[in-house]
């Protein structure tokens, strides 16, 4: 599953859908092979006390291989090749403008925790992409932070991730 990221966003205009289709199908095929190999090593056969740990996943892996292979074959050699463009340049830009900040946000969460990172993320997103005034944006960010903090830490008593640096440690939660 992991490498799917590479499949959807090659930075060129107009990749035809069938290429993406084939790449994704190939990844499914590869995942199938990994599962088959992994379960084979675990013991996909019959042990003394019944089916081994890899018995069931082995067949699942086979199904993955077959369906991935068939989809790939259809995409590449099928009669109706889907040559429509998967994402055009504009769409890709918009998707990336959502995706990249979100990834940066997750990275920030890792260090400063969910609360601070969320407030900064919301405020920056509004300023940069929504073209709002900084005052308005920061207000919304801080309000969201306060609301989430009250809701989770205080009312429902569900502690959230504070980050490795724990900048909110002084609050005592």
């Amino acid at each position: 599953m992991e490498p799917t990221e590479t499949s959807d966003t090659p930075p060129r205009t107009g990749v035809p859908t069938y290429v993406v289709e084939a790449v994704v199908a190939f990844l499914i095929l590869a995942m199938g092979l990994v599962v088959v190999h992994g379960s084979w090593k675990l013991g996909s056969g019959w042990t003394t006390d019944g089916p081994g740990a890899g018995y069931f996943p082995f067949y699942i892996g086979l199904i993955l291989c077959v369906s991935g292979g068939a989809t790939m074959g259809r995409a590449l050699f099928g009669k109706k090749k889907d040559t429509a463009i998967f994402v055009d340049h504009q769409q890709l830009r918009r998707v990336l403008s959502m995706l990249l900040p979100a990834l940066l946000y997750l990275l920030a969460v890792q260090f400063v925790g969910l609360y601070i990172a969320s407030a900064v993320y919301i405020a920056l997103f509004m300023i940069v992409l929504g073209k709002y005034s900084p005052i308005k944006s920061v207000t919304v960010g801080v309000l969201a932070l306060a609301l989430f903090f009250l809701m989770f830490e205080v009312w429902f008593k569900v502690p959230l991730f504070k980050g490795t640096l724990d900048p909110l440690g002084f609050l005592g939660y």
């Binding site: 990221e5 199908a25 992994g38 379960s39 018995y55 994402v87 998707v95 969320s118 919301i122 989430f148």
Partner: protein
Amino acid sequence: MNELTALFHGFSVVLTPMNLLLMFVGIILGVIIGVLPGLGGANGVAILLPLTFSMSPTSAIIMLSCIYWGALFGGAITSILFNIPGEPWSVATTFDGYPMAQDGRAGAALTTAFTSSFVGALLAVVMITFLAPLVAKFALKFGPPEYFSVYLLTFCSFVGMGKGSPFKILASMAIGFALAAVGIDTVTGQLRLTFGIDELMRGFDFLIAVIGLFGIGEILLSMEEKLAFSGKSAKINPRVVLETWKQLPRYWVTSLRSVLVGIWMGVTPGGATPASFMSYGLAKKMSRNGEKFGTGEMEGVIAPETAAHAAGTSALLPMLALGIPGSPTAAVLLGGLLIWGLQPGPLLFVEQKDFVWGLIASMYLGNLAGLVVVLTTVPLFAAILRIPFSIIAPVIVVICAIGAYTVHNAMLDIWFMMMFGLVGYVFKKLDYPLAPLVLALVLGDKAEDSFRQAMLLSQGQLSILWSNPLVGTISTLAIVLLLWPLISNLLAKIRSPKPKPFAEEQPVD
């Protein structure tokens, strides 16, 4: 009459001030979720699930199921006022709902939609009340082979009844099963498919998958399509409501047909979305005003809404009685049951009477409360959609991240959620169905357990799946559904049959 006594006991469980409060909170949260893009029934319930860990199971399920009703109601608001389906099952509602709103009949359209939803759900709940205990009693006799054949039927019917490439449906399902297999094997205790990574020992939680696939994936898609909301304003006053209600009984045939379609599609894992389309199509064919459909015909709103709600509700029947959910949202609720230490399945009706009948009673009350809430507060919810997307989008990402974190208090899960989001985006664009993936991820371990137990009983002979009439019928039905794309293909071009030898055999194992 046993059911009625039990039901009244259920009402007595539900009718505490706290539970009623939770019910309204749930409905309102649900409608908000249904209105917002990117949040839907399944991931909305998944995100809010951790909040209920400290509640009693009965209160928790009341709140969660009310969120579900709310989301079902909420989808109609955006369809009718904005021509944007908030949920996939309300796509068909836009066909006639939006033209009605353009016509200045938004209030009538909304009233029609909400009332039909209510009727659909109500009849489905009545069905559950009387049928679920029977199914559960019947299922008490099930052994591992029977259970496995029911799982097989569930998954094969995705292939048989789904649209699009059967290979994609199979792939999506197998990915779910493969991810479910990661972690500690429940039988032998061996580590499986973790490739030496310690964090993978816990396996992949389906809640994370649901939040990512449906939440983040949806946001990425809406970003790509660049949604611009331009809605009709809605005014609902009691006069409009009463006038609409006066007209509704005329369409009772459509309602009844839609309820039946919905119940059938909900109990078999067809789900609310195909149910709404099917019902709309049938209504168009059978109605006297069929050719006027699409221009703002009331019947065109009644049909999909009734069916969607009936399907969404009856999806809970197999979940309660067999432990096999009929939809992704029902799957999330089932996951909740497991977390609260309840074993879904036929024994639930014997051991957890309070819980089951409390839930069923709350379905009656929750839908009634939902109808009242949405009829009185539509303008409020429509206002949410006027908040610009550049504020909504980051907030939803934050909510998804929080939801993913709280499931296991693990930071890694948030990264997994993002990964699932990307997968969801690509899969949706390529027409891979997501529901089989989620259901396989939820049911993976249980399906595997029943399969291994069945194999132990028979010493590895697949013939145990045909060892008695009951299990044989279910298994045969499953195989027919699995091969249905092939069969219908063959029937279509009977002159030049092209067999695909490999597809026939594999998935049976």
